[in-house]
Amino acid sequence: MNTRPERNDEQVVVGLFDPTIPLSPVLDQLRCEGIPDYRMTVISPFPLGNILINGPVRFPLHRITIISGLFGIGIGVCLSAGTALLYPLATGGKPIVSIPVVGIISFETMMLMAIIGTFMAMMIRIGFMQQSDLSHFPRTVEGAVGLSIHLGDETAKAQAISSLLQKAGAADVEIRTVGSHFRNGGT
């Protein structure tokens, strides 16, 4: 899943495309060349909408939301009912464990936990997807859509792929070698 290269001198072909050019045909061509999906990364300054790469396995974020929401209900019940039972003090004819109160507090803690849980899961997920600094192109900031292909062992394909990208309409193609000097922003 994580494509961070193991070796230091891995080659990466990077193509920068005008965002109006549809990328799916390019990706299909690359697949024909025998590049597996997990070696390709599409980088854009805004979401492209349609999913281009069958990359990482779908992430069941909603399940985490539900689980942490249920956990939140538990917290709410503990707070509103549990603490009242720990030191029961009668107040104004209201029961020690008052159902509407438990409902209100549990609702709030459910929402709190669901949102925090979803957020944490998402952050961890995004953090894990932080690939090599190579996949970071400052030029995408200016509006280009980047397509990077990690070659892995097949370094010989570099030229072929680069011309393929050029033919597909890439504004700029670059072959980079992953090294430690790319650490800071990759320029």
Partner: protein, 245 residues
């Protein structure tokens, strides 16, 4: 050492009695003299507000005599209504307190724990009798007035809600005396300051769980009513209607 050897750790064998403190206010006897107000101030270390604050409506009184006028001069009739905390069984002030500073004691008293109070003042809003009073500033007594403070009642700092306690310090003492003698509190053992000072005996205090107590008898009077009874707060203070009406 002699004390060490006699350490006794079995729970206390004191029998416990259940009490339900109640007050009866006979409006027919109330002359509006406000002796109760003064006595209450002295007994309960109530903050002296002064002229200026009184004008702002901030004078703290745990018991007040409300005056209602009827008719036009010279045919005026005045009605006095002593109002203190009604110690409601279903007190609206209690559940709204976020920190349990206001709660209901097992003896039916509506308690205010001053040191727990953070001063959100919701209880004050929700009391339909406006019986709750707030310390807007720290209290101050000129010397030597500070020497006459009641040591059994804590001095409330600023920012704290307070109200009539039925003189809980006297109740506590009465119960302790009774417990030492191994008996139940007798009717008349405990008199809150207002009751003690009322020259016309318009105020009567006692234990409703004691069927022979004076309050138990007076509560059954056909003159009896509760203040704002329709709100369903079940007050522990019963008023007796004036006879002249």
């Amino acid at each position: 050492m002699s004390q060490d050897n006699q350490e006794a750790h079995e729970p206390s064998k004191q029998p416990t009695w259940s009490y339900k403190w109640e007050m009866v206010v006979d409006l027919d006897r109330c002359s509006g003299c406000e002796a109760c107000v003064v006595a209450c101030h002295a007994e309960n270390n109530i903050r002296i507000s002064g002229e200026e604050e009184a004008a702002q409506g901030r004078a703290i009184n745990w018991i007040r005599i409300e005056r209602y006028w009827e008719g036009e001069y010279p045919n005026v009739k005045v009605k006095f209504l002593p109002v203190m905390c009604q110690h409601c069984d279903e007190a609206p002030c209690e559940p709204v307190c976020p920190v349990y500073a206001s709660y209901h004691t097992p003896e039916g008293l509506n308690a205010q724990v001053y040191n727990r109070c953070v001063g959100v003042r919701y209880c004050g809003n929700n009391c339909p009798y406006v019986a709750r009073q707030f310390n807007w500033f720290d209290p101050h007594w000129e010397e030597p007035l500070a020497e006459q403070l009641n040591p059994d009642v804590s001095v409330r700092s600023g920012g704290v809600m307070e109200k009539c306690t039925f003189c809980v310090q006297r109740i506590r003492r009465g119960k302790e005396t009774a417990a030492k003698e191994g008996r139940r509190v007798r009717d008349g053992d405990i008199t809150p300051a207002c009751v003690q000072s009322c020259p016309t005996s318009a105020l009567i205090f006692g234990d409703r769980n004691d069927p022979d107590s004076r309050v138990s008898h007076l509560k059954k009077s056909e003159r009896g009513f509760h203040l704002l009874e329709s709100l369903g707060t079940h007050p522990s203070v019963t008023y007796l209607r004036r006879l002249s009406e």
